[in-house]
Amino acid sequence: MTAAPAASELALDVRDLHVSFPTPDGVVRAVRGASFQVEPGSTLAIVGESGSGKSVCAQTLLGLHAGADVTGQALFGGRDLLAMSEDALRKVRGAEISMIFQDPLTSLHPLHRVGWQITEAIGAHQPVTRREARTRAIELLDMVGIPRPASRVDDYPHQFSGGMRQRAMIAMALALRPSLIIADEPTTALDATVQAQILQLLQQIQHDHGTALLMITHDLAVVAGLADTVLVMYAGRPVEIGDRRTVYRTPHHPYTRGLLGSVPGAGGSIKKRLVPIPGQPPSLIQLPAGCPFHPRCPFAFDRCETEEPSLRPVAGAGGHVSACWLPAESARAAQPLDAEGSHP
């Protein structure tokens, strides 16, 4: 990665996003200063666990954040998504940015035929005739690998299996050739073999249409195969950003290292005892002072308890940043994995 590309070249440029929700127990600060870029045609994966703020991030971009306080900018094609009116956002949604959700059974309308939903989506943005839209819908279903699309286009969502419903969602997301797709845990609810099909489909779409992909997930294995850039989120902030190989092989932030150590096989032999991160994620209402990870961090020292680190460059591959007070060179020193997965 060379110097950051000019803003106009980026598919998406998010700057200092803050999202918080008032609740009876206090203010939940779900996202606290997230900045990231998605380059055209590439995949950025945002990895995190529950409470990391990753889903809120994605949903806020498309205005699906009822009741939240939002500050920051999300520049898409020169326009700030967060400053747009509801009408303007509606034009962008579906046409230029599409979203794929986790559970297609609840995000597809159960009472309307699948084909109808796709044609409605098309018709809302483009002046096409019914027939043209229907033809396009069949084309799309075929493109995503649904067998016999001409007859399945009139089926209801419950007549599709889980994997096929997700494909139908992808078809809907593609209908207007968006330049960016936001996928929020698209394969979590699916079986492994079906997941493989869907991910292969997404890769193919990227390859064929040059669509940028913002993928939200908790599955490190999915990220390993699909992402160009990886962003790890914890307690509402990105704690590490880097390209895929760098983050997996020479992670800097202790949380990333802890995550990788929690996955069987990621740290070497599959039978090796896991090294989980002790404790639990912090409450987003009462965050610890300083670095939010310090209560669980085996490397914490006194600075960590008072000052929250910002994203700082890490020695090695360009563009690798980590929000940690540990020295920039410690990534190399901390047990990088070689090709066979054992320690050197």
Partner: protein
């Protein structure tokens, strides 16, 4: 976790070399009838488990993997006699428990317990945690009332919970902690066998690791035997001594964990393994992927012959006609495969490749 070379097939209560088989399933079948109406002739049934035989040796961890509809959850419930069997036989600790009445089963239940998947729904939200954990103790009367609280707190400490919290409600705990509560409840009666139905699937990755380690420690400390059901292949490989792969109600392959993952013989196992994305960026993209076509058929109407033949890249005419039996591999008697044309070692590229 000791490696087990005991009885893998049906029936024998003691393995060839004398290791004890704690649980033996013989041709277990469980069908759920679908809409029995007076008008409709014949009864369609969901053939959730359609003839499964396996045994679990004392002290080992048997992993069961499979995707949705393979019947592993149903098998777990059959093994713990939550469901009555449609046919077949279950032996526990030398005793035939298939046809026992509810009262007779109570004694058995003290030795076989279940850990459930969903930490949010396996605990009664209206009951306090201490009461939930004490449940088995109260039902079986093993602990006098005066000592209940002490025992409950002991169990809470054992699983890593703060014993002061025993008066709280499940809603006050996180997912990982609730799962610990479920485990504490299961351990109350000091069972021999713990059937874990997807115990970590609903948890975050870092919490998963904590619970996996907890289960491993408990096994060492208390001498437990586990049946570990999951769909995450790397987790199953990590915890298990032996692994059984299920597809549409039948076991298609069963072998020691390392063997199964290094050299699977059944095409479905191979596909499943290749579909599991490895958390290593180089291996993940370099590897050939066997991407199966189609979806899992419905368990109401499974395909004829070998059930996997409709999606198998190596299928031959014989596969549609004849159902393959579980047979041992020529070089390892404990590695059983149900396939007419099992894969040779290293044969992972199917005739029709799908690459990117």
């Amino acid at each position: 976790m000791t490696a087990a070379n005991g009885a893998d097939g049906a029936g024998a209560a003691n393995g060839a070399d004398g290791t004890r088989s704690l649980l033996t399933l013989t041709d277990v079948v469980k069908h759920f009838p679908v809409r029995q109406s007076v008008v409709q002739r014949g009864s369609a049934a969901v053939r959730a488990v359609d003839g499964v035989s396996l045994s679990v040796t004392e002290g080992e961890t048997l992993g069961i993997v499979g995707e949705t509809g393979c019947g592993k959850s149903t098998l777990a419930r059959c093994a713990s006699r939550l469901y009555p069997l449609t046919s077949g036989r279950i032996d526990f600790d030398g005793q035939d428990i298939t046809g026992l009445s509810r009262r007779q089963l109570r004694a058995v239940r003290r030795n076989v317990q279940m850990v459930f998947q969903d930490p949010f729904s396996s605990l009664n939200p209206r009951r306090r945690v201490g009461s939930i954990i004490a449940d088995p103790l109260v039902i079986h009367g093993t602990v006098p009332r005066a000592e209940l609280r002490a025992r409950v707190q002991e169990l809470m400490e054992l699983v890593g919970l703060n014993p002061e919290h025993y008066n709280r409600f499940p809603a006050d705990f996180s997912g990982g902690q609730r799962q610990r509560i479920g485990i504490a409840r299961a351990l109350g009666l000091q069972p021999k066998l713990l059937i874990c139905d997807e115990p970590v699937s609903a948890l975050d990755v870092s919490i998963q690791a904590q619970i996996i380690n907890l289960l491993a420690d408990l096994q060492d400390e208390l001498g437990l035997t586990y049946v570990f059901i999951a769909h995450d292949l790397s987790v199953v490989e990590h915890v298990s001594d032996r692994v059984a792969v299920m597809y549409l109600g039948k076991v298609v392959e069963i072998a020691a964990a390392e063997r199964l993952y290094a050299a699977p013989r059944h095409p479905y196992t191979a596909a499943l393994l290749s579909a599991a994305w490895i958390p290593d960026p180089d291996q993940a993209t370099a590897r050939e992927q066997i991407v199966l076509s189609g979806e899992v058929p419905s368990p109401v109407d499974p395909p004829s012959g070998c059930r996997f033949h409709t999606r198998c890249p190596w299928a031959q005419p014989r596969c549609a006609a004849e159902e393959p039996p579980l047979l041992p591999a020529p070089d390892a008697g404990s590695h059983l495969t149900a396939c007419h044309f099992p894969l040779a070692a290293g044969q992972t590229v199917p005739p029709t490749r799908s690459t990117l």
